[in-house]
């Protein structure tokens, strides 16, 4: 029996055993939750501070004029005299084509996130729960493909796109990102699916369910946390990608270029004007963060928590 918990897994509800008596650990759990050892708080908070300081510096600097940024460290801007400006943001947001580039980024990222996950899910399930010769070797080859440097695939693939006439189209980038994202997706999904309890699938097949049904009705729902993680990462990598879009779209159809390319062109060829990048970084960060927040609720305890394990 599992302890039913709320969506964020941190609100222990009344817990009952099969016999109907409250589980002794319930109150302990509640107490532990709220009375966590102070050491934990210290460590967690210090790590949070360490992690946020660099980004905070960028945020503060994005509101300061360029001359100030070169003259004094950002903490000094927090004390009077205050000299903040919105000029950097203005410059970024009024940039020609920013709106179009943003839409392009969405067009590129959403399909390029969904397709690899679907393709990988089928393959991962096969690797995890079906048997066939050379399965492990083949899987290791798939994972090994992770190490291939992107740059060495650019020319052969671009030639292929040129020959089939899709260079410059969104389709080219969707297909490319799917190919590039598959090794990691398959690796992660297979690991997770392989860890699902065997008994569940066994009872299902006893009950006459075919593999497709087992996949759609059992494996997928149980894999929601890892599917959510994968969605977050793939979204992120595609959203922040510059090289793939630049090479596969750039030469032929520059109106399809995403945000990353447009933002990078804020900097002049000699590398000056980097202060605009500070504002640009935050503008482009917003959407991935929103995606992260909204997918957080899928990281729940209890989806597989009830299955017999160990």
């Amino acid at each position: 029996m599992t302890a039913p918990t709320g969506p964020l897994g941190d609100q222990p509800a009344a817990v009952v055993t099969a016999g109907g008596r409250p589980l002794a650990g319930a109150t302990t759990a509640r107490r532990r939750r709220f009375g966590s050892h102070w050491l934990i708080h210290i460590v967690v908070l210090s790590l949070m501070v360490l992690w946020i300081v660099p980004t905070l510096g960028l945020l503060i600097n994005s509101f300061r004029p360029a001359a100030e940024v070169s003259a004094s460290p950002w903490p000094s801007a927090l004390f009077p005299p205050w000299d903040f400006t919105l000029a950097n943001y203005e410059r970024v947001l009024t940039r020609d084509n920013l709106g179009d580039a943003f839409i392009n980024s969405l067009f590129i990222t959403i399909p390029a996130t969904i397709i690899p996950i679907v393709v990988a899910a089928f393959a991962a399930y096969a690797f995890a729960w079906m048997n066939f010769p050379y399965k492990n070797v083949l899987f290791v080859v798939v994972v090994g493909l992770l190490v291939i440097p992107l740059q060495s695939t650019l020319i052969p693939v671009l030639r292929l796109f040129a020959a089939t006439g899709i260079a410059g189209e969104f389709l080219a980038v969707w297909l490319a990102h799917t190919g590039y994202g598959l090794p990691f997706a398959i690796y992660l999904l297979r690991n997770y699916m392989g860890g699902l309890p065997k008994e569940v699938f066994e009872s299902a097949s006893i009950d006459g369910a075919g593999p497709a049904t087992a996949f759609f009705r059992l494996a997928l729902p149980m894999s929601v946390p890892v599917l959510a993680s994968l969605a977050i990462f793939q979204f992120l990598f595609v959203w922040n990608d510059l090289l793939v879009s630049l090479i596969y779209i750039g030469g032929a159809r520059s109106e399809n270029l995403p945000l990353t390319v447009v933002v990078a062109s804020l900097v002049s060829s000699l590398g000056g004007e980097t202060h605009f990048l500070t504002a640009a970084a935050f503008v482009t960060m917003i959407l991935p963060l929103i995606v992260f927040f909204s997918l957080q609720r899928y990281f729940v305890r209890g989806i597989t928590g009830g299955a017999v394990k160990g």
Binding site: T2, G25, T28, T153, V157, N240, G306
Partner: protein, 324 residues
């Protein structure tokens, strides 16, 4: 408008088509193929779409790269092992190999270690969501922005002049001299760069390990705590073994990321001051020097370096399957 329609159709249609393909394939399989043969044919149907993508985008270019690695600069004639020879006898290569090793060891330890620590600790506090978001933010930042952020952090000005870089300004406040973080002292400046990698990727490990952690039954943990186990024992005997497969996956992925990592080195020091890494040398051979043969040789060397890790993985899978 046409684009929007296309995108909508693709987002809905492609998964639908794939689902239909699987369902359809299963139907045909169960109808046409005798029961005992089904098990042999089925897996290939399921992995076929993935294999198709991988072949086109990764396998075919790799074979291409392998062939190129035996050819000359513009891929006109074969030169045997000359490119590999060049790579291993080049003056900067030894240092690059050493630095890549640093990256693999320190970045993996840092990312996996910190990621695990945070995933476990954060599970126990009320502000879990916020904490996880803070650690995650660096991953959401593009490399371009990360380069800018850390240039502000590490900025060095002549001792005696006002320090603008965050770290050096802090040192200034406690009356210590500024440090030229990314350039001296060698080889410790590599750690400054590696730390940027750790800062960015810990969120990645944390998210995956956290998802895995949530999959561990809560009452299992409760029961053992009730039985009197302290936190360390709970971690060692329950959490760690159950999480090990996931740690392995995260670890392997980070090792490969560390080996491939070239963006940070490229943007911050361009490999100067003793910080060069293999992946950057590959990039330089391909795009700066325009020598496709040598660049391909370096790519193949990279591939060969992960063989030990892949062997470990195979071993793991065999063990896992045996237990199942």
């Amino acid at each position: 408008m046409n684009d929007l329609l296309t995108a909508a159709i693709v987002v809905i249609g492609v998964p639908a088509v794939l689902v239909g393909y699987i369902v359809g394939a299963e139907l045909i399989l169960t109808r046409l193929v005798p029961e005992r043969r089904q098990g042999r044919v089925r897996p290939w149907l399921w992995i076929a779409p993935a294999l198709a993508f991988l072949t086109v985008f990764l396998i075919y270019p790799t074979i291409n790269t392998l062939i190129l690695s035996f050819q000359d600069r513009a891929s006109r004639s074969f030169v045997g092992l000359a490119n590999y020879e060049y790579f291993f006898t080049s003056s900067g290569t030894l240092e690059a190999l050493r630095n890549s090793l640093f990256w693999v060891v320190f970045m993996t330890l840092g990312v996996v270690g910190l990621g695990l620590l945070i995933a476990i600790l954060v599970d126990r506090v009320r502000y879990e969501s916020i904490a996880k978001s803070v650690i995650f933010v660096p991953l959401a930042i593009s490399f371009v922005a990360a380069g800018v952020i850390w240039s502000f952090m590490y900025l060095y000005r002549t001792p005696g002049t006002p320090q603008v870089g965050t770290l050096n300004a802090a040192l200034d406040v406690i009356n210590l001299g500024p440090v030229n973080w990314t350039q001296e002292p060698q080889p410790f400046n590599n750690l400054s760069l590696i730390f940027i990698g750790i800062w960015m990727w810990t969120g990645f490990a944390m998210v995956i390990l956290s998802a895995g952690l949530k999959g561990i039954s809560a009452e299992l943990l409760e029961a053992s705590r009730v039985d009197g186990a302290n936190e360390w024992q709970v971690f060692r005997n329950i959490i760690l073994p159950l999480l090990m497969p996931t740690i392995f996956v995260v670890g392997t992925t980070i090792v490969i990321t560390a080996l491939k990592s070239f963006d940070i080195v490229f943007t911050v020091t361009n490999g100067n001051h003793g910080t060069d890494v293999i992946a950057r040398r590959m990039w330089a051979e391909m795009f700066t020097n325009g020598h496709f043969g040598r660049a391909s040789a370096v790519a193949i060397v990279l591939l060969l370096t992960i063989i030990p890790f892949m062997a470990l993985n195979i071993k793991r899978f065999r063990e896992q399957e045996a237990v199942r």
